[in-house]
């Protein structure tokens, strides 16, 4: 009888690699789907609700996971400059999407300005809060391992 071997550390590494690319592939496809559907049918939550909730859940899991583990990204540490840049990129893309999808009978240009300010505030605020939480977790981990270094 052949002995059943559970996934060993190499297989776990390979599976994580596959899941990493699978997750990010799905993530960007989901965003593309939302953008295309929003442009085609307008800001209709009945059509986009499922995709938006799925995206929110995936993003929330990533955020909570990063904060709990005290990690940020593969290539950078949390810093104000990148938070500002990411906030600006999100603002430009988000506002562009609203301009493309929102009906023409909006109250005025100020509507887009308010939307842009809200997008920037939320994006920058979340990134800053997350960055601070990650740094706090990193410091806590340093404190917890301090005795081991003595």
């Amino acid at each position: 009888m052949k002995k059943k071997i559970p996934a060993d550390e190499r297989q776990v590494r390979d599976l994580l690699w596959i899941e990493h690319y699978g997750y990010w592939g799905m993530f960007w496809c989901l965003i593309l789907t939302i953008v295309v559907q929003a442009i085609r049918s307008g800001p209709n939550l009945e059509i986009l609700g499922g995709e938006i909730i799925t995206l929110a859940i995936g993003s929330l899991v990533m955020c909570v996971g990063c904060v709990k583990k005290g990690v940020w990204t593969f290539c950078d540490q949390p810093r104000m400059k990148t938070n500002l840049l990411a906030g600006l990129v999100a603002t430009v893309l988000g506002t562009l999407l609203i301009v493309l999808t929102w009906p023409l009978e909006v109250p005025g240009v100020w509507f887009y300005v308010v939307a842009a300010v809200i997008i920037f505030s939320v994006t920058f605020g979340i990134l800053t809060l997350m960055g601070n939480a990650v740094k706090r977790k990193e410091n806590k981990m340093v404190d917890e391992t301090e005795d081991d270094n003595e």
């Binding site: 071997i5 190499r10 297989q11």
Partner: protein, 67 residues
Amino acid sequence: MKNKRMKLARVAKDMSQMQLAEQVGVTRQTIGMIETGKFNPSLNLCIAICKALGKTLNDLFWEEDSE
């Protein structure tokens, strides 16, 4: 980089990759990939392999600069 010392130690003990794999709790492919240098094992797995082959970490996994 290929791990010839691990392969030599395994052959000297008259063990197949499958036998070593079962003893340390991984798949045969993983042992093969360690020997061919395509996978870097964790310290725990290195220690398990050393114990199975009756060698030390230095014997199997330490690389001198000149090598």
